[in-house]
């Protein structure tokens, strides 16, 4: 799931560089409202999990998002 999430982040934010799970969302130039919207939509599509904008505010790194997704799955 970790690898899948990284690929989803890359797709949502149009990234072609290597992305680490510890990377901060703010470090990506394409992390804007449209990027966030794309990520929310892709997470819904791939994991069938809905995340609110409010929840996203607490995520600094991809790992924060990953942990929140794991908690939701459980």
């Amino acid at each position: 799931m970790k690898e899948q999430l990284i690929n989803i982040v890359k797709e949502a934010l149009d990234l072609d560089q290597d992305v680490m799970i510890t990377d901060h969302f703010e470090s990506f130039d394409t992390w804007d409202s449209l990027g966030k919207l794309s990520l929310i939509a892709l997470i819904d599509e791939h994991f069938e999990l809905q995340l609110s904008d409010e929840e996203f505010k607490s995520f600094e790194t991809i790992e924060d998002l990953y942990n929140a997704l794991l908690a939701k799955k459980a």
Partner: protein, 239 residues
């Protein structure tokens, strides 16, 4: 006849038409919510039909039965519809099919089925389109396509039916505070909300703002208007 009458613009239109003394046929997907709309109206002569207008076989079977005892229709406001805010890179043909089915096909299929019921002395059809039919915003490509089709279709329909005294007009609202837009991204994200609101000199609209324009288009006060779109957007597109 008012579609999408269980909430938002449709509900406000039902209330405004009731205040003007109209006898109404209210269509919506949810019977309970239609009854809720009905409870806000003063006349007891209105009728409701819980129906999904995108289920064409059901519409074909049920609508004629529902209309059987109705002598004629003086007008229709088609407010039923869905919105979509979806970045274009996630575009899927299935999603476009769905939004076109609900926003475009359902609107015009319903229109076809009520044609023979329209008052031969004159009638008025009003389609709720969107300002997105003529201007652009991020993540609105699919929604804009569907509303552009509604606005364009209504114009030709106006020409085709003018000789039968059927007037056809559209209303193109900007963002209106309704249940449909309550969960939209621009409403739930603080920064985006402030950014979007700043584009509206008069702020977001209320369902009543659109309902009043519907009443005007349904009435003889607009008897020389057909094939026209009324932009209602608090100044959004004036810049």
């Amino acid at each position: 006849m008012v579609t999408g009458a269980s909430s938002g613009i449709g509900e406000a239109t039902a209330i405004a038409c009731d205040e003007q003394g109209a006898t109404l046929l209210l269509l919506g997907r949810n019977e309970e919510r239609l009854n809720h709309t009905l409870s806000k109206l003063s006349s007891r002569n209105h009728k409701i039909l819980a129906i999904d207008l995108a289920e064409f076989e059901v519409v074909t079977a049920q609508l004629p039965v529902f209309l059987q005892d109705v002598p004629h229709l003086d007008g229709m406001v088609h407010a039923a519809g869905i919105t979509s805010t979806y970045p274009f890179k996630l575009f899927k043909t299935e999603q476009l099919d769905n939004i076109l089915k609900v926003n475009v096909q359902a609107a015009f299929y319903l229109t076809k089925l009520v044609l023979t019921k329209l008052n031969k002395e004159g009638s008025s059809l009003v389609f709720i389109s969107s300002i997105m039919a003529s201007v652009g915003e991020k993540a609105k490509t699919m929604y804009a396509m569907s509303k552009g089709a509604v606005s364009a279709g209504a114009k030709s329909l106006a020409i085709e039916y003018a000789s039968r005294k059927v007037r056809v007009n559209t209303i193109a609202p900007g963002i209106v505070n309704t249940p449909m837009t309550a969960n939209a991204t621009y409403k739930t994200n603080e920064n985006l909300l402030a950014e979007t609101l700043a584009k509206y000199p008069l702020g977001f609209g209320e369902p009543e703002d659109v309902a009043h324009a519907c009443v005007f288009l349904l009435s003889d006060a607009s008897k020389w208007m057909t094939g026209t779109e009324i932009t209602l957007d608090g100044g959004y597109s004036a810049k």
